[in-house]
């Protein structure tokens, strides 16, 4: 298969969670992919799109398409940002000259676990992580992209990892982008429901393919002094046996 991949690092991962990006690179390189990071990328426009500010979102989307159109495989450590490109660009750029290009780029953009399992056909990435972990299936990854089994099959192959499934797993964590600040109390109440389900598993960590859900959950978990910690799937997959 084509061993070249272009990295799509969402803006808030770039600015606030660089480790998730580095761990994504580490996993891909371990599987001998040639990783390229198109440095002109900025933001996919999702915050503006979800707020109804489509005139602001559109140029961001066009910029994204121009930056990535030359690449045949684009990999992103976020289900939500991948879904913005694949699911929502066609509607947002309906009138744009870049519409066809946008649809094509969307079909070549993959969330990390989806890329590893479905495209590369790998489920054992050679990771070791000796902890109990529960998995939060994030909304856009599952219901918009249809990613259900991929993260689970990757986690099952991680050496030493004790995977525990949580009840009502498919319920939203409450992040929702600007929703989390516009309706802060509702958002945090939704996180409390999610946290109760996480704690029911007594796992040390909660993981997900979406860094935005994890940022929100981490905030509420620490604010309310709960024990479980958050970790992005890429960081688990990047972990190796410590000597």
């Amino acid at each position: 298969m084509d061993k070249r991949v272009a990295l799509f690092i969402p803006c808030f991962v770039d600015q606030m969670q660089p480790q998730v990006g580095l761990d994504t690179v580490k996993v891909l390189r371990r599987l001998s992919f040639q990783v390229e990071y198109p440095e002109d990328q900025t933001c996919c426009g999702q915050p503006a799109f979800n707020t109804g500010q489509w005139d602001s979102a559109r140029p961001c989307a066009e910029h994204f398409v121009n930056v990535f159109k030359a690449f045949s495989q684009i990999v992103c450590p976020s289900g939500s940002c991948t879904s913005m490109v694949r699911t929502h660009y066609p509607e947002l750029l309906k009138q744009s000259v870049l519409h066809e290009e946008a649809v094509a780029v969307g079909s070549r953009t993959f969330e990390l676990s989806e890329f590893l399992v479905r495209v590369a056909g790998v489920s054992d990435v050679g990771a070791e992580f000796r902890h109990s972990v529960t998995y939060h299936p994030s909304c856009h990854a599952t219901r918009e992209l249809g990613i259900y089994d991929e993260p689970i099959s990757l986690l099952q192959k991680v050496k030493g990892l004790d995977l525990r499934l949580m009840p009502n797993a498919n319920e939203c964590c409450g992040f929702g982008g600007m929703f989390s600040t516009k309706f802060g109390m509702v958002s945090s109440a939704m996180a409390e429901t999610k946290i109760a389900n996480i704690e029911a598993t007594q796992a040390e960590y909660v993981t997900a393919v979406d860094p935005s859900c994890l940022m929100h959950l981490d905030g509420v978990l620490r604010f309310q002094k709960h024990t479980p910690k958050v970790i992005h799937l890429a960081s688990i997959l990047a972990s190796e046996a410590s000597l």
Binding site: C11, Y37, T42, C43, N50, Q53, C172, M190, M215
Partner: protein, 473 residues
Amino acid sequence: MSRLAEEFLVAAAQKSADLTHRATIKRNIDSYDAAVAKGKMRFVDWEAARARAAQVKSEGMHSLGPLLESFEAKIKARGGHVYWAENSEDARQYICDVAKKHDVKTVVKSKSMVTEEIHLSPALEKLGIKVWETDLGELIVQLRNEPPYHIVTPAMHLTREQIRDLFLEKMPSDVQGETHQELVAAARRFLRRAFFSAEMGISGANFLVADAGMVAISTNEGNGRLTTSLPKIHVVVTGIEKVIPRLEDLGVMWPVLATTGTGQPITTYSTLIGGPKTADEVDGPEEFHVVLVDNGRTEVLADKAQQELLRCIRCGACLNQCPVYRQVGGHTYKSTYPGPIGSALMPIFQGQQDYGHLSYACSLCTACNSVCPVKIKLSDHLLENRHKYVAEGNAKTSEKIGFSFFRWMAMNRSRYEFFGWAGRKALRVALGMGVKPEQLGPLAKWTKYRAVPEVPKESFRALWKKENGNGNR
């Protein structure tokens, strides 16, 4: 921000912090979820049933005019009256006129959300008419002076103890015990008196069958049949979008509605009504009216992007599945239709300016889409409403300026890198100086409910350049 938006914000925050409410709703929806999961197992292929139901409703919508005319002709041929009401006022006026003409003193109603939508009961009461809700849940909220909490289960927010106390206050002589059965029996005794004295019965409709010219009503308590057959006048109040082409379509619509509504295979009573009592019939009303309410529906129909909203069969599945509805509860929306379907419809029916905020009260989790029995992509309509809200100039100025700046920044890598760096730097310095999270300006809305995130010194792109770079692969 509109007054309604401000009230919503306050009420939503209060309700989501109410742990008793959270527990009551969780208990009720958990048992709904279990019943529906079981209900879906009765279908050989639930997804096929959903697709068929969506298609039936879609056909109804695309031939709305001719189908309604066929329905009307059949009803009229049997001696019934059909009235096309353009809006709420028009519908109310017609029904009030019928009531006045017959000197109606008491009305019994079976469950109907459209009568809530057009605010019918207050108009009748103004004429001195006593109006009784006869659906148990509706009666309970009526006695509490509240609107329905939910479109299928109006008293979902109440416990048995609360209902017992209410009944002891409002119908003391009818209450003979405290168990569920005894409380239901009390309501039955109470309502029998209303049924026997009412001159007019008002019902809704679940479907209008075009080819047969019949009104289809699904109920569970028997009150629907009493409402439509005991009083001498029966008025059906219905939205025009309820029309379906063929009688045989009920073969899929009835079980699909019952399954997503309550998890039942079919509701206890499935009633078809086509007109007033005929000469050889013992039961039934002498006069029969159908009021077809438009009230904004043809405008939805005219909008290709949003017309699929008219497929809705008011089953309540999207409300039950919605994590926001579960936190804020049905009353917080202050709209006839709460939850995802209400947040999609109300801004269209009542204006973006007053109701646009409801489209934003959603985390876009899309759970509603996955359960809708007629496959409405509700979250897409909430996004479309937000788009319209902004396009009509309703967004806050600060938000408009913020996103214009955001766009300007995101169009250029150097600007993006600079502002990213500067923002992180400022945050690190502020936190280092001991600035409290609540003093962090716009970030305070985040930190009000969450711990401050760790702010990295360097961005991914800076680290990439340093340690990897595109040359080193």
